[in-house]
Symmetry: C2
Subunit: 205 residues, 2 copies
DNA sequence: CATACTAGCTAACGCTCATAAGTTTGCCGT
DNA sequence: ACGGCAAACTTATGAGCGTTAGCTAGTATG
């Protein structure tokens, strides 16, 4: 049946190599699709064309996969936020830039976004608290931009917290519907959402 | 130890009755907290102070619990939408009313909202397709209101679909952070979000 | 007072899960 | 040519899952 003998010990030769990164990538796809608890390790193995125990040559546990995915994603979010607002002074410019990168990320990294939003709570302590804190930090930073805009009069919104939640979460939801082959590019969607954000805070130049 | 003999056969007398509804309520709490796949039937039983198999006197399967929760919630969403827009003509009034009830629901029915958003995909076909369709119907109806507002000139937004997604999903996210004992009531939050919605579509009276 | 129903219980089943242990195989550097 | 390592394999383990079966004790009905 099989064109080459694919069973038995020894490294694979005819197949794309299984590596720590390829395991993570397969987990990324499956966790995003069926959730962490809804995904069996055996399904990750099957996606890579390998028996289940072979995975443990490239990972230490299922939980660690989830933690790595969440940690990396939150690290990236923070780095992008910092890079986006650096060098900008006006709150409107900062908010536009921050929402743009955040919204774009949720179009370009859908799987990561879905997992972080759906399955972070499946992490064991103390990782859970650490990750929650990192998420809060990002929200707080966004809120601070809005607060500064309210103070200097360029924004006009009752409560900075409510607005920052609304803005961030509407961006998050892009991951739910965006399609790479859809009618709009990630950049276009990001620009549009950055505009939405400025309207929510009632930006007036 | 136990003040009354609580073991052995026979119905409980000293405890609040276990009913189909109380099972659903316990499932609601646990599914919302840990997710459908993350919740064991034994945990639902424990929450009710009962052994696991006893639950099956009040339900037929774990999956049916999820399906009931999702179906009821989506039914309610539709009914509320219809009731909210009925009798209103202006797109702005309709959008405000529709967002108000949708946002309020996500504050007052947090558990249902979290489950629908997180675990609908765990439903087996054909229920999954049915529920997805019902969700799409609600989005389409909201989009139609926005489109009418664009046509009659009271709204000014590039794409009705993008706007309706953003508005609905920012409302959904209320379920993530709202606390009943927080600084704002559900009504206040709903009013604020209805305002956000009108800003997103650039409503000008 | 007998009967039937309700709603608990214990026990057990068949599965699947994540993970461990130990074995086999092919390639690479010497 | 060969020894060792990397990475696959098979097999196994113990725990937990959802669910069924069969039993028992109170409660309501006649």
């Amino acid at each position: 049946m099989a064109p080459t003998d694919v069973r038995g010990g020894g490294p694979r030769t005819q197949r794309t190599a299984v590596t720590a990164e390829s395991v993570l990538d397969a987990a990324l796809t499956l966790f995003a699709e069926r959730g962490y608890h809804g995904t069996a390790v055996s399904q990750i193995a099957a996606a890579l064309g390998v028996r289940t125990p072979s995975l443990y040559n490239h990972m230490t546990s299922k939980q660690e996969l989830l933690e790595t995915i969440v940690r990396r994603t939150l690290d990236d979010v923070h780095a992008e936020f910092d890079a986006a607002v650096a060098g900008l002074d006006a709150p409107a410019d900062q908010l536009r830039a921050a929402v743009r990168v955040y919204a774009r990320r949720h179009a370009t990294h859908r799987r990561q976004a879905l997992i972080v939003n759906r399955d972070t709570t499946s992490l064991p302590e103390p990782a859970l608290s650490r990750m929650r804190q990192r998420r809060r930090d990002h929200e707080t930073a966004t809120r601070a931009v809005i607060s500064r805009g309210i103070e200097d009069g360029s924004f006009s919104v009752g409560n900075a917290g409510l607005a920052s939640f609304a803005i961030l979460e509407m961006s998050v939801s892009i991951a739910r519907w965006f399609r790479e082959d859809g009618p709009r590019t990630a950049e276009q969607v990001a620009d549009e959402y950055a505009e939405f954000a400025l309207r929510v805070v009632r930006y007036r130049p």
